[in-house]
């Protein structure tokens, strides 16, 4: 239907471009190395592409998606070579795969997807980054380098020589140890966590007799109780944090903060007027 297309185009043209503050020039380079293959995304500010190539061909001071698309060949021949990746088997061959747009907090970026093939699986990679080196020496590339072993970040200066990054994976034990430390630290610095757990753990050494709390005589139920509460909390909290870290779930800070306060209050109230007596792990899981 032609008129629908027209409306769609009009809507697109009318769509406001969010206005973001002037910043110094940053591009974001993400590389994912697996075996001989490198998948890359290079997010470049439209203004920087314009500066490098002059792609506003109709000179109307507006960069349209069509103008970006038309510049694809020049992007591949003039921009992509400003990035070199070299392993022990020599330079990896880079090919432009796709062009998209990506909305970041700091504005709309052109998303340049490329694929690289290296002669052999590299154990290190030398990254040469020279985009805008003559035009804007203050340009920087913000690098995230992902391998199976983990992630590294660096700031690339277009006027310095290639930098070498090791891709050797750290040992799994080391990673486990790091995660363990990270977990302890996370719980330790958040006194809300401690407060919530304590409120749930206090009655672990007690037994509710129908009208009042009495000391638990045997050790086994105490240990089981503590374990169930702590494990439930750990599991649930890991799920929540993973969801948040992977950006699958985003809750407004206000709601989260307020729920945390409610959770501590609920846990404490439960000790005075016990509703959940035996299965406190349910509370721990729910609010975790």
């Amino acid at each position: 239907m032609k008129w629908m297309r027209v409306i769609a185009i009009m809507l697109c043209a009318l769509m406001p471009v969010a206005v973001h503050a002037h910043r110094s020039s940053d591009a974001f380079l993400t590389l994912e190395v697996s075996d001989r293959m490198i998948l890359g995304q290079w997010e470049i500010a439209p203004r920087d592409l314009e500066a490098a190539l002059g792609i506003d061909v109709d000179g109307d001071d507006q960069l349209t998606w069509g103008e970006v698309r038309q510049a694809r060949a020049r992007l591949e021949s003039e921009v992509l070579p400003a990035l070199t990746l070299k392993g022990e088997a020599g330079y990896c061959v880079l090919n432009l795969a796709d062009l998209k747009l990506n909305d970041r907090v700091d504005g709309r970026f052109v998303w340049v997807e490329f694929a690289g093939v290296c002669g052999a699986p590299p154990s290190y990679i030398e990254i040469g980054y020279h985009f805008l080196s003559a035009m804007d020496p203050t340009h920087r590339g913000v690098l995230t380098l992902n391998t199976e072993g983990g992630s590294q970040t660096a700031i690339l200066d277009p006027n310095t020589a290639a930098r070498r990054f090791s891709l050797e994976t750290a040992s799994n034990w080391r990673a486990l140890y790091d995660y363990l430390l990270g977990g302890v630290w996370h719980i330790w610095i958040g006194y809300d966590h401690i407060l919530f757990l304590l409120a749930l753990l206090v009655p672990s050494v007690l037994r509710y007799s129908g009208s009042s709390w009495e000391p638990q005589a045997r050790l086994q139920p105490v240990i089981l109780n503590v374990l169930s509460v702590v494990t439930a909390f750990t599991l649930a909290h890991s799920i929540t944090l993973s969801l948040a870290a992977l950006d699958l779930l985003r809750l407004p800070t206000k709601v989260v903060e307020c729920t945390i306060a409610i959770s501590v209050a609920v846990a404490a109230a439960n000790n005075i007027w016990p509703i959940v007596r035996h299965s406190r792990w349910v509370l721990a899981f729910g609010f975790g």
């Binding site: 769609a8 185009i9 697109c12 043209a13 471009v17 206005v19 973001h20 503050a21 002037h22 910043r23 110094s24 020039s25 940053d26 995304q41 500010a45 439209p46 203004r47 314009e50 500066a51 002059g54 001071d61 507006q62 960069l63 349209t64 998606w65 069509g66 103008e67 970006v68 698309r69 062009l99 747009l101 990506n102 909305d103 907090v105 700091d106 504005g107 998303w111 805008l132 003559a134 035009m135 804007d136 020496p137 203050t138 920087r140 913000v142 700031i155 779930l249 985003r250 809750l251 407004p252 709601v255 729920t259 609920v266 509703i275 959940v276 035996h278 299965s279 349910v282 729910g286 609010f287």
Partner: protein
């Protein structure tokens, strides 16, 4: 018997689920626009990289380097960067001066332009070093002396700054240079009178110099407590130069100080591309309770991006953001104290004292009060010891 699932917990779960449903959002992913007409970005109309791109391609083909052309272009980028507060243009200026930027034996013109770029990046010591080299070669360079005076003034070295002003051959700029520093280091009243008497002469000057004069005078009036006089000065100045970021920021501050948040929000709405004005906009919205989360996030992200680059030129803005928007006085004080080591203008002083009092640190506030006592700086906007004691 197992207890029934308690109502309270069930209620909380339901509540949480509803909230999840309401706010669940998948993070934006890269996308392919459906139409070629979609505007990806509006480009600044008057300052483009085109001239620089042509120059660079000439350089690549080995065409002779003409310093005059390069210096003129660099100067234009610097001026435009001032007028628009766009840091990319400073990068272009550095690009224009590329072949000479790192060379030890740069021509004097390049040294001067480089000093101005460093000043804009708040590398004050670096700028002073270059300026003294320029002055050694050209003892009568007004631009060099004026820049030197302004850098020393920001650092709070008033006596040296005044003597730098005195090295400039008698002119309107030389006079204003001396007066603005005299107005910081001593009784404000008489300086204001002298400044006012210069009004007719100011109107013979270039737009940039007029704006400089207007802004200095308006700020003096504000510091002396003459708010309405300051306001009419700002308004008249904005009629002459409606897009000057410095003027807009100072006037927005006056509006914020007098709790005219709606006006402050409206004044800055068009200018959120300029970091300093985006900050005023965010503060006004925060005060009115209509600050959008993504605006706050973008602001916080811009500070993070600067740190990533190793820049520290937004300490003043960051401290103010922490104090007035995030309402985190101890973070604000730490930032304001770090800023105070680099910059010592009245705005920095006020921020230091306000953050210190908000964080209950009389000791840090005293740093500011002692400074006022030692220099003779007057500013009614800085909370004083008596009002703080109450």
């Amino acid at each position: 018997m197992r207890p029934s699932f308690p109502r309270l917990v069930r209620g909380s779960f339901l509540c949480l689920l509803c909230l999840c449903g309401a706010t669940y959002s998948v993070h934006a992913r890269p996308f392919v626009p459906s139409s070629d007409e979609m505007v990806v970005e509006f480009l600044p109309a008057d300052v483009r990289a085109d001239a620089l791109r042509r120059l660079l391609s000439m350089r690549r083909t080995g065409a002779a380097e003409d310093l005059t052309i390069a210096a003129t272009l660099a100067r234009r980028y610097i001026e435009q960067s001032r007028a628009t507060a766009d840091p990319r243009l400073l990068g272009y200026a550095q690009g224009v001066l590329g072949p000479w930027w790192t060379s030890g034996s740069a021509p004097t013109d390049v040294l001067l332009l480089k000093a101005i770029v460093l000043q804009s990046r708040h590398d004050f010591d670096g700028a002073l070093l270059l300026l003294s080299q320029v002055i050694e070669r050209r003892p009568y360079d007004a631009q060099a002396w004026l820049t030197r005076a302004m850098v020393l003034r920001v650092q709070g070295h008033y006596a040296e700054a005044i003597s730098a002003c005195q090295q400039i051959a008698p002119s309107f700029s030389a006079e204003v240079c001396g007066l603005t520093i005299a107005g910081l280091a001593g009784p404000l009243r008489t300086v204001i009178d002298t400044m006012r008497a210069l009004n007719n002469r100011a109107r013979q000057e270039s737009a940039a110099v007029q704006t400089w004069y207007d802004l200095e005078l308006a700020e003096m009036l504000e510091r002396s407590g003459q708010k309405s006089e300051a306001e009419s000065q700002y308004r008249a100045a904005l009629q002459r130069n409606p897009a000057d970021p410095g003027l807009l920021a100072a006037y927005a501050d006056l509006l914020l100080d007098t709790e005219r948040y709606i006006e402050a929000e409206a004044l800055t709405a068009k200018w959120v591309r300029v970091d300093a004005l985006a900050l005023r906009h965010v503060i006004a919205r925060h005060q009115r309770g209509n600050l959008k989360n993504e605006m706050k996030e973008a602001m916080a992200d811009s500070f993070k991006a600067a740190y990533r680059r190793g820049e520290e030129l937004h300490l003043r803005e960051e401290a103010r953001f922490a104090l007035e928007v995030e309402e985190d006085p101890s973070a604000a004080l730490a930032l304001a104290a770090r800023n105070w080591k680099v910059q010592r203008e009245p705005a920095d002083l006020r921020l230091l004292v306000a953050a210190a009092l908000a964080a209950d640190s009389v000791k840090s506030a005293r740093t500011g009060w002692d400074w006022m006592a030692a220099t003779g700086l007057e500013d009614v906007r800085v909370p004083n010891e008596q009002s703080a004691a109450k």
